[in-house]
C-alpha cells in the first residue's frame, strides 16, 4: 500500500513537470502549428547555464532567474532565426529543423559544459516528509515543484484570459490574417509565444535537474513524456496539458514501479497509441470551427 502511495505522489510530481513542458509545446502548437522537438534540449541548455553560474557561487535564485531569462531569449531567437523563414514551406520542414536543434544543443552542451556527470543542487530539501510515523516520497522540493507549476498554470490563465496581450495571442493563434487586419503584430506575437514556451521549458528543466543524473540528455525522456501528455490532453489545450501531464505522470509511475523502469518509455508509447487510435485530437481539444 505504501508503495502505491509513494508511486502516486511520485507520479503527481513528475506529472506536474510533464505538464509544464507540455504547456510550452501547446503554446507553440497553438501559435504556429509546429511541435518543437527541441523544447527539451533548450530547457537542458538553460539549466546548464544555471549550473555554471552556481559553480561560480552565484545566488541560487539569481541563477534560477537567469535560466528563465535565457529561455526567454532562446525561444525568441529560435523562432526568428529558424522558424519564421520556413513559413509557407512544406510542413515537414520545421519538424526536421527542431530535431536538428535537438541534437545541436545536446552537442553544444556537451562541448561547452563538459561531459562529466554533475549534479544540480535542489532548491529545497529532497528528504521525504514525515506524516505521523510514516515517511512518504514527498519532500519540500516536491512541494516546490507543485507550487511552481501551479503558479505557471495560473499565470498562463491570467495572461490569456485577462490581458490585452493574451487576447492578441489568442487572436493570432486562431485567425492570424484577421488579426493582422485588426492591427495585431502577428509576427511579434508568435516570437513572444515561442519565448514564453521556452520559459515554461526552462522552469521544467530546473525542476527536473536535481532529481536525475545531470547530463546533456537528461531532458530527452521528459520531452517525450511531455509530448505524450500534450497529445493526450489535446495539442491546443493548456488545460489538457495539465490533465495530460498528471495522467501520464501517474500512469508511468505505476508502470515503472510495478513493471520496471525500463518499460516506462514503452508505457508512454502505449498511451500515445491508444490516444491516437481512439481520440486523436486529445481529451480537451476543441474541434476547429469553420471560419465564416
Amino acid at each position: 500500500m505504501s508503495l502505491f502511495i509513494n508511486l502516486t505522489l511520485n507520479g503527481v510530481t513528475n506529472g506536474m513537470i510533464f505538464a509544464a513542458v507540455a504547456l510550452g509545446l501547446v503554446f507553440i502548437w497553438r501559435a504556429t502549428h509546429i511541435v518543437n522537438f527541441g523544447q527539451g534540449s533548450m530547457a537542458m541548455f538553460t539549466t546548464y547555464l544555471a549550473v555554471t553560474l552556481l559553480d561560480r557561487q552565484v545566488n541560487y535564485w539569481l541563477a534560477f532567474a537567469a535560466a528563465l531569462v535565457a529561455g526567454l531569449v532562446m525561444g525568441a531567437v529560435v523562432e526568428t532565426v529558424l522558424i519564421r523563414p520556413l513559413r509557407g514551406k512544406p510542413a515537414l520542414n520545421p519538424v526536421i529543423v527542431t530535431l536538428g536543434l535537438f541534437i545541436l544543443l545536446e552537442g553544444m552542451a556537451g562541448s561547452i559544459f563538459g561531459i562529466g556527470n554533475r549534479s544540480f543542487p535542489p532548491a529545497f530539501s529532497q528528504a521525504g516528509l514525515t506524516f505521523g510515523h510514516t515517511k512518504v516520497a514527498f519532500s519540500h522540493f516536491d512541494v516546490f515543484i507543485l507550487v511552481a507549476v501551479v503558479v505557471l498554470m495560473l499565470g498562463t490563465l491570467v495572461l490569456f484570459r485577462a490581458t490585452s496581450l493574451g487576447l492578441r495571442m489568442r487572436a493570432a493563434a486562431f485567425a492570424p490574417e484577421v488579426a493582422r487586419l485588426l492591427g495585431v503584430r502577428v509576427g511579434r506575437i508568435l516570437t513572444l509565444g515561442w519565448a514564453l514556451a521556452a520559459v515554461a521549458g526552462s522552469l521544467a528543466g530546473l525542476l527536473v535537474a536535481p532529481t536525475v543524473s545531470f547530463s546533456p540528455n537528461f531532458m530527452d525522456l521528459v520531452l517525450v513524456y511531455a509530448f505524450t501528455a500534450a497529445v493526450l490532453g489535446g495539442l491546443d489545450s493548456p488545460v489538457g496539458a495539465l490533465v495530460g501531464g498528471l495522467v501520464t505522470g501517474l500512469a508511468l509511475s505505476y508502470v515503472g514501479g510495478y513493471l520496471g523502469s525500463s518499460l516506462e518509455p514503452l508505457g508512454a508509447l502505449a498511451i500515445l497509441m491508444v490516444v491516437l487510435s481512439a481520440r486523436p485530437e486529445g481529451l480537451f481539444s476543441r474541434p476547429e470551427p469553420r471560419r465564416v
Binding site: 486562431f174 485567425a175 484577421v178 493582422r180 487586419l181 492591427g183 495585431v184 470551427p289 471560419r291
Partner: protein
Amino acid sequence: MLDVEDLSVSYGAVRALQGVTFQAQDGSVTAVLGANGAGKTTLLRTVSGLVKQRSGTVSYDGEKLTGLSVENIVRLGISHVPEGRGVIEELTVDENLRLGTLWQFNRGHRRSVLDEIYDLFPPLAERRSRMASTLSGGERQMLAIGRALSSKPKLLLLDEPSLGLAPMVTAQIMAMVQRLARETRLTVVLVEQNVRSALSIAEEAVVINLGRVVVADRAATVAADTQLRHHYLGF
C-alpha cells in the same frame, strides 16, 4: 482620399489586376463592381497589404501604402472587412470588438469606444459575452463591421457584406454604411456582387472586368447605362 494608380497584381502566372486606376473621395462611398473573379477582392487585399502588387501604387492621403506591412497600413487608419467576414469564432463578441481597439486606444478609452459601437449595433450589445460562433449571419456582419469601426478608421474597405444575408438585413446594413459615410466623413470602398444595393448607396462606381477597369464614373451614370449593366453587371 484613396488613390490607386496603375495597379497590377499577379498570382504566379495569373494576372489578377492590370493597370487599375481610380480614386475614392473622402466621405463618399465608392462601389467596386464586376463579375465573380474579376479581381475585386484582390483589389481590396492589395490595398490593405495582404497581397503584394507587381507594379503600380496605392496611396492614402498622400501616404504610400504599397510596400508597407498590413499592421502598418492598419495604423494609417485603414480597416478591411474581408470576404467571409473573418469573425473569430473562438472569441466572444466583446473580445472580437476589443481586438480592433487595442493598437489605437489606451485602456481608459477602449470602453467608451466599444460603447459607441454597441450603440450603433444594439443586437451586438445584447450578445456581448456570447461566443461569436453563436451569431447569425447578419449579426456576424454587424460584428465584422463594428470591429472594423472600433479603431475609428478613416478608410473602410468592405468586401461583399451582403453575402449570405437576407435582403432586408442587407438593406439595413447598406443604409447604416451610407449613414456612417455621410455623418463621420468615413471613406468607404464597397465591393459588392449585389449591384443594385451597392449602386443605391454609392456616389462613385468602378466596374472591373478580367482585372481591368472598364468604367469609373458617378454611380448614377453607371446605373443609367443599360448596355453597360447588361454587359458587365448582369442586369
